[in-house]
Every structure is written in structure tokens, then in C-alpha cells.
Symmetry: C2
Subunit: 235 residues, 2 copies
């Protein structure tokens, strides 16, 4: 009871502050490494924010994480023009998973169940000239994070391809996580008496069956590391 009162007090305080950052009891900020790693493991596309000509630019791109060296890798090309112009500049990498729509009794309490991580830092640009070994490591981590098994299976980059590739390496030093899960927050308020349905409409991302390239030579079978992902919740 004391706990419930405390919660109500906290919620009241939060209600008047910034709505999305801190607004709900079931929405939590976390700086735990475990939460961060779980969010990063559960995806392979991030949104990279850079500053170009004094304006923010947000670009979707694939990423991969080496959880031992605690490094996040990105294809450098996506940001290379801005980073060449402004080296040593901070980027923001955001990874988001949407788990459902929170349908409350009131429009005001509507929201989204989600898991999201933000990583800030100044990335290192890896090229075949400056750090060939680092570049290869980055490409391997990127490939295996997105498509486990493909680094062994597919043809690896040639010298010419490596010369045309840059990778960004971002340390996982400065990061935060935000999560929300569970039902709407107005189940114990006056709106609960309105007799309206409330709940969550869950959203799920799944892999479908692999679609072979129509140009594929007849008789080439789907390798198990690819077929094994079908019909499973992604990734």
C-alpha cells in the first residue's frame, strides 16, 4: 500500500515533466550493460545520426557488435562524406525494437512498448590504408551479426573490394537504454470505470522462408545456417 502510494506520487511527478523521456512508470531508463547488449543483439539495422551542414541527418544502416572488445561497427560509407568533412565529430547510433501498441482508456495514455538503445561517440574510420586488419575484423563482425554463417560461406572481400570499403568503429562507452513493456498505465485510475477495452496490440518481426535468387544455378540448396532462421522471431 505504501508502495502503491509511492508509485502514484512518482507518477504524478513524472506526468508534468517531459512526456516521452520519463513519463511512465512502466517506461524505464537503464544503463545496465546487460540491457544494452540485449537490445543490440536483437537487431541489425540502426539509425545513425550525424551533422551535415549544421543540420541533423538520420540514416538507416546495418551494424554489428563485437561484445568482447565492446565495439559497434557500421559501414563507413554511409557517413563518410560528413565524417571526412568533420572528423572527430560525435555520432549518435540508435537501435529500436517495437513490441506493441499500448491502447489505453484515454488517448493521453496511449503509447508504445519498445526497447531502444542510444550510443554516442566519436567513431574511428577504418580503411585498407589505415588499418587493414581492423577493417577485416569490422567486416567479419558486421557480416556475422547480420547473417551468421555467411562470413565462412560467402566469398570474402578481394583487395579491390577492401579498397572500396570503409568501416566505422564506435566504442560502447557512452550508451543508454530505454524500455517499456506491459499493459497501459490507466488501469487503476478513474478511467478504469469507463468500461472501455484496454490492452496491448503486440507487434512481432519474423523471418519468412528464404527466397532463392532466380539466377541461381539449379540444384544449389539453401545452406542450413540460412534455412535455420526461417519462421523464427527475428533476428
Amino acid at each position: 500500500m505504501a508502495h502503491e502510494e509511492l508509485n502514484r506520487q512518482v507518477r504524478q511527478d513524472l506526468r508534468v515533466t517531459d512526456r516521452t523521456s520519463h513519463r511512465r512508470l512502466r517506461e524505464q531508463g537503464s544503463t545496465s550493460r546487460e540491457d544494452l547488449d540485449a537490445v543490440l543483439r536483437a537487431g541489425f539495422v540502426c539509425h545513425l545520426g550525424v551533422i551535415v551542414d549544421n543540420a541533423p541527418m538520420v540514416v538507416p544502416t546495418v551494424y554489428g557488435v563485437d561484445f568482447v572488445s565492446r565495439t559497434l561497427y557500421l559501414h563507413g560509407s554511409v557517413a563518410s562524406r560528413s565524417l571526412v568533412r568533420a572528423p572527430e565529430s560525435t555520432v549518435c547510433v540508435t537501435v529500436t525494437h517495437i513490441d506493441g501498441l499500448v491502447l489505453a482508456r484515454s488517448v493521453f495514455e496511449h503509447g508504445v512498448n519498445y526497447r531502444s538503445a542510444m550510443v554516442y561517440g566519436v567513431p574511428r574510420l577504418l580503411t585498407h590504408r589505415t588499418d587493414r586488419r581492423g577493417l577485416l575484423t569490422g567486416l567479419r563482425v558486421l557480416t556475422e551479426h547480420c547473417a551468421p554463417g555467411q562470413w565462412e560461406y560467402a566469398r570474402r572481400p578481394s583487395a579491390k573490394e577492401l579498397a572500396a570499403t570503409t568501416v566505422l568503429a564506435l566504442p560502447l562507452d557512452e550508451a543508454s537504454v530505454k524500455l517499456r513493456s506491459g499493459p497501459p498505465d490507466d488501469g487503476d485510475g478513474p478511467d478504469a470505470q469507463l468500461g472501455l477495452w484496454a490492452g496491448v496490440l503486440p507487434l512481432r518481426t519474423v523471418w519468412d522462408d528464404p527466397e532463392p535468387d532466380p539466377a541461381l544455378t539449379a540444384g544449389v540448396r539453401v545452406p542450413p545456417h540460412v534455412s535455420g532462421r526461417g519462421h523464427r522471431t527475428a533476428p
Copy 2:
């Protein structure tokens, strides 16, 4: 044949430029309004980029679009602190749908099938003080875009709730779209002879069955506008 040679020429040119922005024949930039609207209609969460203390900040947040007035609405709270500090500042709103992993014969040709839109602009901040009617319109558009039917069904915002709410309105004037679909691009190159499997691993987002709030009064049934979304490809 002439067409194929032209394609090969173009591809060769693209290969040496920026990898993600322009690298592939099947990856296309578009400035068509139809493509833009289709990408925006197919989602309800965007990544908003703003500049805070000279660093980019990328925040996931819900959005809604009024396709008649061609206005994109966002919850203002998410960016209000930065926008109050720097009004009249440009933001970047990016919406991305991931449709599959492109598994090529070579690591270099791996990629993602996706649809993505970027909208740039200086948003107007709508509050109950400056534009109560605009604020209500924005909230209705946001609600109906994310959860069609809920603006009629749920309790609408009270005066107190409106006072605690801000909405950003961004005109759809400056926007671009990027799309990639189809199989890998190395089916007609020398790597096609490697005998490796290649294709696409499709990714799909689906709504699951609604989960009622455990606090729900017994006997309240899921309204049709909610139950009708279950098991359909989102949104």
C-alpha cells in the same frame, strides 16, 4: 543486350562511389510523392534527429501524417528541450522498413531490402497556448495513424492533459525516399559460378492477438477496430 551493357556500365560507375547511398542497381532513390506516402503509411515509429549541444541526437518516436495538408506530426515532448533551446532549427525524420536480408555470393554484395524516407524541415511547435485547434488536430492525426479508430473510441484529452502536451508539425516539403528490393546483384557476374546459394531472407512484421489489460473489467470485449488488425502484416 545494349540495355544490359548500359546497366553494367552504370553499375561499374556506382561501385566506386559511396557504398550505401548509391551502390546498387536495385537500390533506388526516389522523390516521388507516391513512394514517400507509401513509406510513411506503412509505419508509425520514426527516428527523429535533432542537434543538442553540438551533437546529433536520434530518438525513436511515434508519428502521424495528414496526407491532405501534407503535414507530419510528432510528439513535441521528445524534442522540446532541444527545440526550446534552438527554435527554428532543422530536424530530420527518418522512417525505415526492413524487408529482408540480401545474401549474395560475395560478402561485398550483401545488403538489405528496405524502404526508407527522410523528411527535413523546421517544425512548428503546437501547444494549447499557441494553437489549441492545431494541437487537437495533430493529436487526432497521430492517434488515428497509429491506432485507427481509437480517437473515436478512447477518452479524448482533458484541458489539463492538453496543457501538458506539445505536438510538432513538419511540412512534407523536403523529403526523399530510398528503396531496395529483389535478389542479390551478383547473379550475372563471375561469382555466379562459385556454386553458392544466394537469395533473400525476407523479414515481416505482424500484429499478434490483442492482449487485454489484466486490470480490465470482466466482460469488456475487444472492439472490432482493434481485433481486426490481428495476424495481419503490420501496420
